[in-house]
Symmetry: C2
Subunit: 618 residues, 2 copies
């Protein structure tokens, strides 16, 4: 029943051999990458204004331009640095791999943890921002925001469990709609304002010039800058997926990287510039800045809704890139033994079920806690991204240094400069956003790293304990005949215990039936029944005045196993009756379960369960 429902939801299983993936050409690759990287412009300018407007009023629009220019500068530096990574890691080099290979395991794990947090936040932030775009067009949905976001994440989870990579080519359509309508909005907006001199439509009352409350300070500018840095998240995606591009893959990846940067540059710069003249007002609740711009340029016509919907869809697709990235990164980390092995198992549709579900649960939890409010979530966002940027760039410096190929000094300088700039930015973001929530991430990264190291230690311990050399393999004695003692704990004589006793005497001549009784009358009854049996199996019957059953059995078996010789094996056969009613099991004592759990920890003991099927008797 449940199985059938899951089959319909997730789809029929796919064989290993069906996993070949389509490669990206440039326009398709650009669409895939753009969803994550370009979509963040939908909230970046707003985050900058959110700090500036309440503090310095109208002056904010002036400073918006400058802050945006600083961020665009950073974008250019990062792009050049990342093109280097594409060059050096044609097999795909995420921050985790670059940092691990060049700086060591711990920096690698730091970058990995930062990226994992980043992916989770991508889902939470993008899904929330997507719904914010929808509620800007339909304010009546505002109070269902959290529910809508969680439903969207659930839908994405199901789609990813089915595996949507094959069909994602159709997803490039909304990306291009978004890109072109944003470009059109910027150009037409500027044309209307400067050439036609049409005053903008106002969706929200503009702020008044007198509303300045604070002096302009470097502190404020840094805060605005660190908020705007969220525009740069998603930039690293191209370098991770070099091998997914059509041949020549490095060249295609580089082209996509440059196109991507140009798009961010134009759209982010353009909206910031437009926001200055159209005086969009950042609001804690209500229409987004982009929606105000769209309304300012187009009024409430069709283009307004096109912008809102394509924003919503591209943000959802940004979400979706995390659904590919997170499980893939967990797989890589898991293969290295730093994450639970479950993350390395492909589900029946070839997706990493465990990773997809983990991402979705944590993201939903965040959305719920932060009430789907992007303004609360974004302060957590950029710090992880910039930590991984810094580590990747630093790793590249070491890479060039050790590779020493032609022009390595020049290349090391580029990445070194990138590392310094991103390190400074990380510092700015971490300090400016510390009390807004960045502290959570700064605490989480070492915690995740600690858990990863613990996990690795555990796997190492298990592997070294189980490992056996080829020489030892050849020498294993497969003719050994153990001396077998079989113990059958019984509470009474019934079909199940008798079956277990019969089985026991047929694997060994040394069988002990062990009875621990909490009731003297029942004990005597068992003894007199036992006398009827035609058997030489020894019945050991003990009275337990404190009504414990498990402990006396364990103690008895302990005594025997301590006296056991080297070649002796003690098999404990536990009779267990099985009913067809699943709920029935809660009506019985779980002595067998507790015995088994405790016996597993003892030496020279094998625990066998003899199931007796009640249905059979009827």
């Amino acid at each position: 029943m449940l199985q059938k429902f899951m089959d319909i939801l997730i789809g029929e299983p796919l064989a290993n051999e069906q996993g070949a993936q389509e490669k990206y050409n440039v326009p398709f690759g650009l669409a895939i990458m753009a969803s994550d990287a370009v979509s963040s412009v939908a909230y970046a300018a707003e985050e900058i204004l959110l700090y500036l407007v309440p503090a310095i009023g109208l002056l904010a629009y002036n400073w918006l331009t400058w802050v945006s220019l600083a961020i665009i500068g950073l974008l250019v530096i990062l792009t050049i640095s990342y093109i280097q990574i594409i060059r050096a890691y044609p097999q795909g080099g995420g921050a985790y791999i670059v940092a691990k290979e060049n700086l060591g395991v711990k920096p690698g794990l730091i970058a990995g943890s930062a990226l994992l947090i980043d992916y989770i936040l991508t889902v939470a932030v993008s899904a929330s921002a997507s719904v914010a775009a929808i509620t800007s067009a339909f304010p009546q949905l505002d109070s269902y925001k959290v529910a809508i976001v969680i439903i969207l994440i659930a839908v994405l989870t199901i789609l990813n469990l089915r595996g949507i990579s094959e069909s994602s080519r159709i997803f490039s359509v909304p990306t291009y709609i978004f890109i072109f309508s944003m470009i059109f909005m910027i150009l037409y907006g500027l044309f209307k304002y400067f050439i036609l001199n049409v005053p903008p439509n106002q969706l929200v009352d503009p702020i008044k010039s007198g509303e300045m409350m604070e002096n302009l300070s470097i502190f404020l500018i840094l805060k605005a800058f660190s908020s705007g840095c969220s525009a740069l998240t998603g930039l690293e995606a191209v370098s991770n997926s070099v091998p997914n591009f059509k041949k020549p893959s490095q060249k295609s990846a580089k082209t996509v990287m440059i196109l991507l940067t140009s798009l961010i540059l134009f759209i982010f710069g353009g909206t910031s510039f437009l926001a200055r003249f159209y005086q969009a007002v950042p609001l804690q609740e209500g229409p987004t800045v982009v929606s105000q711009l769209a309304y300012g340029v187009f009024g409430s016509g069709i283009m307004f809704y096109v912008i809102q919907f394509s924003t919503a869809i591209i943000l959802l697709m940004a979400c979706n890139t995390a659904f590919t990235g997170f499980p893939m990164l967990m797989y890589v980390v898991g293969k290295d033994g730093y994450a639970p092995r479950q993350f390395t198992i492909r589900g029946k549709r070839l997706g990493f079920t465990f990773g997809i579900l983990a991402l979705s649960c944590v993201a939903c939890f965040l959305v719920f806690i932060f009430k789907a409010d992007t303004h609360l979530l974004i302060p957590l966002y950029s710090v992880g991204v910039f930590i991984s940027f810094t580590l990747a760039q630093s790793g590249m410096v070491m890479h060039w240094k050790s590779a020493k190929e032609d022009g390595w000094k020049y290349r090391a300088c580029i990445n070194g400069f990138g590392a310094i700039v991103t390190l400074i930015t990380t510092g700015i973001i971490a300090s400016e956003k510390f009390f807004d929530g960045a502290w959570i991430v700064i605490l989480l990264i070492p915690s995740i790293m600690f858990v990863m190291l613990k996990v690795h230690k555990h796997y190492e311990h298990v592997a070294s304990g189980l490992r056996i050399s080829e020489r030892a393999l050849k020498e294993v004695d497969f003719k050994i005949k153990y001396y077998h003692l079989v113990i059958v704990p019984i509470a009474s004589l019934n079909r199940a215990t008798i079956g277990a006793l019969q089985y026991a005497q047929s694997i060994s001549d040394n069988v002990i039936a062990l009875n621990i009784s909490t009731d003297k009358i029942a004990m005597e009854k068992l003894k007199s029944k036992w006398a009827l049996l035609d058997t030489d199996i020894l019945l050991v019957s003990k009275y337990s005045p404190y009504r414990a059953v498990v402990t006396p059995i364990l103690n008895y078996i302990d005594q025997i196993s301590k006296a056991a010789i080297d070649n002796e094996r003690i098999t404990v056969v536990l009779p267990e009756f099985e009913t067809h009613e699943k709920w029935g099991s809660i009506l019985h004592n779980h002595t067998g379960f507790f015995l088994r759990e405790s016996l597993l920890r003892k030496d020279k003991i094998v625990i066998a369960t003899f199931p007796y099927h009640l249905g059979d008797a009827e």
Copy 2:
């Protein structure tokens, strides 16, 4: 660590033989019984006024007397009827036993369910009323009411898990303080009012004579009557515990019953009478009626606090009687096979741990849901009690009819009259209180009964499936030698799987190593390693393109078991490595667990777990 903490909290285990219980003499027995039965007067008069005052204003005090008289009449009838039960069931006859023996299983279960609900409500209502007595004296605690009630229930739970029956003799002190101070309050109050003509102190503004909002109706009087019936709860306790009294136990029990009734009569009648002249005002929130009377009579002197505290303590003791009654009833029902067997197991301190915990959890849940408000809880209360009264009385009629001893007609008439009166009362309460919450109880009783019947059927099914006759016992063949086939599922060759294979070949010559691989390279690697082994064990290796492991193993074993002859047993040996880190197990696949669960449902299969201890290798 946890074990030690629990030992301190609950105490050292007690042996079966330490369970002998002290018998009650009359004064001690009266104190024990009075806590439940007499304590309800602390809220009964208030419940009556709560319906009358808002409707008919000052006239309410007049009608209070009449309603109280009707309830006292009912009390007398019930007392006479219950003395008959004491006579007929010297071994203790609760409503469950009387109804089951004389009317059949289903009426017995109805009475049992009603009593169980009653016990749960006794805890919820009495604990809430106890805290209401405290907050009447200290109004500043009012907002912590729910928390205080839940803490008190938790303390009672711990005390009962320790077993408090031995020390309960000291608990008769507060009972007698309560009884004597209530009697003193009534007498002194009447003396002050009628002889000294002192006007009462008013804790709460009295109602004005003009505040009549409704006409007096029979409906209203019935509603008040059904609310007041909560005064009669706890009356059945004496008949349940006849064997606990000192010899001659029936005579002692009868004496206690009569004393008890006199006390209820005087204290309930007296407070109702006093409330009339002192014009206590029932409040949804704020001081209780009893506390207003105490203030009216004594002012804020020491006696006011004595009354409040002894009320609080006697109500807590009433709670405590449910902690004895509920687990005992669950034990009796469980012994009969209508409740999960866990309820029949004595914990290490000889109390019925399961019953005590179940009672405490459900009661806390009710307190939480109903916000510790006695006015909301009481409408649920009396209906269950009166259903069990009615069934017990009807059962007694059948008892006398079949026993046919001297004067049986006369006795049957008494119980018959009791049955009719309680049936009518049940009807009144059920209809008047239906929408106030009685519907919950009326729905719950058949639901509980349904579950009990289901549980019984399950136990019957299991017992009949397992049962084996003495003749069959004698004929069991304990010399049978099965043909053994051993299957060892392995993923790779390591110390654990090799140990399991060694064990397997030593219990049978027919061993199959079964490998299901999701990865062709790993499969080839295993095969080449296998070739190194000096063994003739057959390796069956299968590739699973859909990455399922459990299902192919099950299918393979299924095929084999279907082909198995009658005397063949298939033992599946599952290698399992054990680490000392408990959390480690979540890092591994649980293939073994799922295999075991599924294999238990198959025929002719024994599942053995071969544990390999990782610590040993180091």
